[in-house]
């Protein structure tokens, strides 16, 4: 029996979520749409908690609250500074667009309902099946077992998609520094000094947690990415000798390690992604560590939004003397 306040909570939350989603899609001011989307992400994490899906809630909190908002703000700033003005959307929808979108939405909803009917009715879903084989998976947390072992190819392809996104972004343009000069504030410097080690530590904590409780590579990677972004905002830049091959190698490292672990199976007479039972735990651990590193860099590269320019991805912070000469 759901207690009264909780029932009201569960009714209010989806209502607010729907309203925020609608406003975020239709708001004519793009900046406002981004802020509404940030609020939407925050409440969505609460909704996942209420649905008892702590892994998804953690991922939503880490990626939604930290990285997506920053990504959207950086992208908006970039297109606005290219356009030289504040951008907005027409407040009114054209009837044709409204009809098309409405039809597409209805079709998608109908398709979802239809596929719901086709789902096999299994008491408890696939949960019992996963629990029965948990001992063979090399980890103690069912979600991690599914992600990196039982359904490893899903995760492998996800990482490939992330990598392709970065390649596509790098093909489009060179990185434009979204800071003409780094944010200079003694408070921010102090904040970064405290936060960077804490973020690193927490990323390690979430990664470690993933083997037996909600947590894992994606969540840890977004914390690392947040740390990298904080450093970028206060003017840090990748040393020139690192932005060539080393950066590219680090970006693909996770994917390559995962792929290598995947083809151990066929080489030893098993199926693809079928790890040798004796090596399961160290293999998964290694893949997860390298994935965390690569995903963190991939997320950061997406926010920066362009390939490294020439030898340096960022111009070094202009020194006061150089500025004086320019004037």
């Amino acid at each position: 029996m759901t207690p009264g306040p909780l029932l009201l909570f569960d009714l209010l939350l989806p209502a607010v979520l729907l309203w925020l989603a609608w406003r975020s899609l239709t708001s004519s001011d793009l900046f406002r749409a981004v802020i509404l989307f940030i609020a939407f992400n925050l409440l969505l994490a609460l909704a996942w908690v209420r649905l008892e899906a702590p892994d998804v809630a953690l991922a939503e909190a880490a990626i939604g609250a930290g990285v997506t908002g920053t990504l959207l703000l950086a992208a908006l700033t970039r297109i606005e500074s290219a356009a030289g003005r504040r951008l907005s959307r027409p407040a009114r929808w054209r009837p044709a667009a409204l009809v098309l979108t409405g039809t597409a939405l209805l079709a998608a909803a109908a398709g979802l309902l239809w596929s719901l009917r086709l789902l096999p009715t299994m008491p408890g879903g696939l949960g019992p099946l996963v629990d029965r084989h948990l001992a063979e998976s090399g980890v103690d947390h069912p979600v991690t077992a599914v992600l990196l072992n039982f359904r490893g190819y899903d995760t492998l392809l996800e990482v490939a998609v992330l990598l392709l996104a970065v390649i596509a972004i790098w093909c489009l343009d060179e990185a434009v520094p979204f800071l003409q000069q780094p944010l200079e504030s003694p408070l921010l410097t102090g904040f970064n000094r405290m936060m960077l080690p804490i973020l690193l530590l927490s990323a390690g904590y979430l990664l470690w947690l993933g083997s037996h409780a909600p947590g894992g590579a994606f969540q840890a990677a977004s914390l690392l990415a947040a740390g990298l972004l904080l450093a970028l905002f206060s003017g840090a830049s990748l040393p020139a000798q690192w932005s060539g091959l080393p950066l590219r190698l680090l970006l693909v490292l996770g994917f390559l390690a995962f792929l290598a672990a995947a083809i151990i199976g066929p080489l030893t007479g098993r199926a693809l992604l079928h790890y040798p039972p004796a090596w399961v735990k160290p293999l998964i651990l290694l893949v997860e560590w390298l994935l965390t590193l690569s995903i963190a860099l991939i997320l950061t590269a997406t926010v920066i939004g362009g390939r490294p320019t020439g030898s340096r991805p960022y111009p070094p912070p202009a020194s006061p003397a150089a500025e004086g000469r320019q004037r």
């Binding site: 944010l183 504030s185 408070l187 921010l188 904040f191 405290m194 936060m195 804490i198």
Partner: protein
């Protein structure tokens, strides 16, 4: 009733007015500089009271420490963000409200 429970209830009940004050401040204060106070002061104090109430209920010291860590982190970001937003608004040429408008 356990005295710890009574203390927790008192702290929880005390937290609610601060969150309410934060929201009223956000809605009613005249300019962005005033509204920053709602962000950094009222809500962080409310969160602190909730943290104390829950830390009293925790089974182990580790749990209480975790709660305190969360509170400290929120205060740290709150203070930094408030400073940066205020600076942005000031540089954008916004004049702080002086009571004569």
């Amino acid at each position: 009733m356990d005295p710890r429970d009574i203390l927790s209830i008192v702290f929880l009940l005390a937290a609610a007015p601060f969150f309410l004050a934060g929201t009223i401040g956000l809605l009613r204060f005249p300019d962005v500089f005033c509204r920053l106070h709602a962000l950094t002061k009222a809500d962080n104090l409310g969160l602190g009271l909730i943290v104390i109430a829950l830390a009293l209920q925790a089974d182990t010291w580790l749990q209480s420490a975790r709660l305190l860590l969360i509170w400290l982190l929120v205060m740290l970001s709150g203070a930094t963000v408030a400073h940066l937003i205020a600076r942005t608004a000031l540089r954008a040429g916004r004049k702080p409200w002086s009571g004569r408008s």
